[in-house]
């Protein structure tokens, strides 16, 4: 299907039309920042900010909610449990390419055998409308190094590109093309639209310098070489183990499972909730032994997950270079800086 064009004037009606069929989540202003929020009423369509630079939390919260009920139980007897696998037809609007890559990573993790029923149910019920970006949002980002400037195939149903008073719209999946052919607000792109898209790309090409001092293919091995480095102690000195980095990270998905009783102290739910390998008790076992007792080992573990382990296990990037962790870290620890600092490690260790 050839590209379409959606004028910004028609964007509001485009959104309200989607709201008739789906729960719609879109980027909105939140104080000085932005956040993906569910639109509660048609009047909210005007608040959508497709021009946002980056959201505080990534859109993973719609696919892996902070709290998610797994089972209801009416009493302590094991036979009294009902599983919960829920989903709601949802459209997430305006997801940037790095967040699309991150969704592909979490998809791969949750679809690995044994398949996670809850995640897959939500994911299958979700349609994503992507939004291209033309420059870095801040000094913490390094998507060019991680290969996440361009969107991945098959994650978003369509990609929007801002070409002035209108969006250039490209359907990238069958479902996306179907949505577009149904759309009364889109018209086929003409020569000026194609030209504007090309100018967008030309400007974009200059705006994403690489920020790592080596090619990202060496990152896993450089991390390996740095395993025993004192760098980790040096960085972890500042860390509070607060877990903010994992909270805002689009590829973090570790969770805890806990039972929550109702007031009758008998019935309740078993639910999962976001957890963090940065918190002190994450690797603690019965009897009190803690296998990552030291902050440095926890911080190192996170960096290795992002730069190496997730890639090894899923084939998808563990870090998409979005910079959220660095931006929000209370102690101003930067994953980009840390990845830059390990460049020298291999040379020192082997010397």
């Amino acid at each position: 299907m050839l590209p379409q064009v959606l004028s910004k004037e028609d964007f509001g009606p485009f959104v309200t039309r989607l709201m008739q069929q789906y729960r719609v989540a879109a980027p909105m202003a939140k104080g000085p920042d932005f956040a993906f929020e569910v639109l509660e009423g048609e009047e909210e369509a005007a608040r959508v900010r497709m021009d946002y630079d980056i959201t505080i939390l990534p859109p993973k919260k719609f696919l892996l909610p902070t709290y998610e009920e797994l089972l209801d139980f009416s009493g302590p007897q094991p036979g009294a449990a009902q599983p919960r696998v829920e989903s709601q037809e949802t459209v997430i609007l305006g997801v940037h390419p790095y967040d699309l890559h991150a969704i592909a990573t979490i998809d791969a993790a949750f679809m690995a055998d044994p398949v996670d029923a809850n995640y897959v149910a939500r994911r299958k019920a979700t349609r994503i409308i992507g939004m291209n970006i033309q420059q870095y949002a801040n000094e913490h980002q390094f998507m060019a190094d991680m290969g996440t400037v361009e969107p991945p195939d098959g994650v978003a149903e369509m990609m929007l590109t801002d070409i002035g008073d209108r969006y250039f719209v490209e359907g990238t999946t069958d479902a996306g093309e179907e949505m577009l052919s149904d759309c009364p607000f889109c018209r086929p792109a003409g020569p000026e639209d194609h030209r504007a898209r090309q100018e967008y790309d030309a400007k974009k090409a200059q705006n994403f310098p690489k920020r790592l001092p080596y090619h990202v293919r060496y990152l896993p091995e450089l991390l390996d070489a740095s395993y025993d480095s004192l760098l980790w102690d040096a960085v972890a000195r500042r860390c509070f183990s607060c877990g903010t980095c994992t909270n805002v990270c689009p590829t973090c998905y570790c969770f805890d499972v806990q039972d929550k009783l109702n007031l009758d102290a008998t019935s309740g739910v078993r639910r999962r909730m976001w957890d963090s390998c940065q918190l002190e008790v994450f690797a603690e076992v019965a009897g009190g032994e803690n296998f990552r007792e030291h902050r440095a080992s926890r911080l190192r573990h996170r960096m290795f997950r992002k730069g190496k382990y997730i890639l090894e296990r899923t084939g998808k990037p563990g870090c998409v270079g979005c910079g959220r962790c660095s931006k929000h870290c209370v102690a101003k620890i930067s994953i980009l800086e840390t990845f830059q600092q390990i460049a020298g490690e291999a040379a020192e260790v082997s010397a």
């Binding site: 009493g75 302590p76 993790a109 044994p114 299958k124 102290a265």
Partner: protein, 283 residues
């Protein structure tokens, strides 16, 4: 190989436990109890040595517990559980006839057929005897598949001994060598005293080239027992252990059991020492 999203169907929830019935409960020590469980749906279970179950008590939670009975396709399974947290303390309150939730089996387990024809050396420390028993029973139940069998067991004190009936039986058998020790004896204790590594010089020499060792116990015991095994000349790939972690999901998703790039509930809990060495923070 993972499928694409469109290829993947929404499966049943993997968090729903089966109903397990407590057929037998017996206190072994002040803190450890033996449980034998079967399944209300009558469908039994098929598991390998070294695998574990997630045991559920609704309203309290779920705990990963190693299976300690002989592996195979069977109607029931056994566990030896130490009361150390919310779930396990609540399990200790239960009597025969009670029901619990059971999910599993999880983990890679170990196929004892892969060491057929070899000399076997079992080194079990403390509660490590529970998972180790699964391996030991498999070997003893199919005794002629294996060459020499040596069992070393160490407990903290005579009061902490587990599976006394089994220990007596293993001592009595003439087709295996059984040695045991306690760290500290008491007035009536007649046997060996000292840490488990003191048993190594006492056992009959094994052929290191064809010996498979299974060393299961607390991290500190594991470290020293492995040193002894290596000193005897055993190959790193032939020394196996069980690395235990606080598995919450058993499905390789929640992340709590991660050791470096490995999920213990998926690629473990049974690892060779060669793998453990690579895992560094593993012990």
């Amino acid at each position: 190989m993972t499928q694409t999203l469109s290829e993947t169907e929404v499966p049943r929830s993997p968090y729903l436990p089966r109903v397990g019935c407590l057929d037998e409960v017996e206190a072994f020590t002040e803190h450890e109890k033996y449980f034998r469980l079967s399944f209300e749906d009558g469908e039994g279970i098929d598991y390998k040595a070294g695998q574990f179950m997630e045991v559920s008590l609704f309203g309290i939670g779920e705990a990963p517990i190693s299976i300690c009975s002989a592996p195979g396709k069977r109607d029931d399974l056994e566990m030896c559980i130490r009361a150390v947290g919310d779930v396990t303390n609540a399990l200790h309150e239960l009597e025969a006839g009670a029901t619990v939730g059971l999910r599993g089996p999880f983990g890679n387990g170990f196929d004892m057929d892969s060491v057929a024809g070899m000399d076997l050396l079992f080194v079990a420390g403390g509660l490590g005897l529970a998972p180790c028993r699964s391996f030991i029973l498999d070997a003893l139940n199919r005794r002629d598949k294996f060459n020499r069998v040596t069992i070393l067991y160490g407990a903290r004190s005579p009061k902490d001994l587990l599976y006394r009936d089994d220990l007596a039986e293993w001592e009595a058998r003439d087709d295996c060598e059984f040695l045991m020790t306690v760290d500290r004896g008491d007035e009536t204790w007649q046997g060996n005293t000292g840490v488990i590594t003191t048993l190594f010089p006492k056992m009959r020499k094994v052929d290191p080239a064809r010996t498979a060792a299974f060393i299961i116990g607390p991290p500190i015991m594991f470290k020293f027992a492995v040193l002894e095994a290596l000193a005897m000349g055993l190959r790193k790939t032939n020394i196996h252990c069980s690395l235990e972690r606080r598995m919450k999901c058993g499905l390789g998703k929640c992340g709590h059991c991660q050791i470096r790039n490995v999920y213990v509930c998926q690629e473990g809990p049974i690892f060779s020492y060669a793998e453990v060495m690579r895992l560094r923070e593993g012990i």
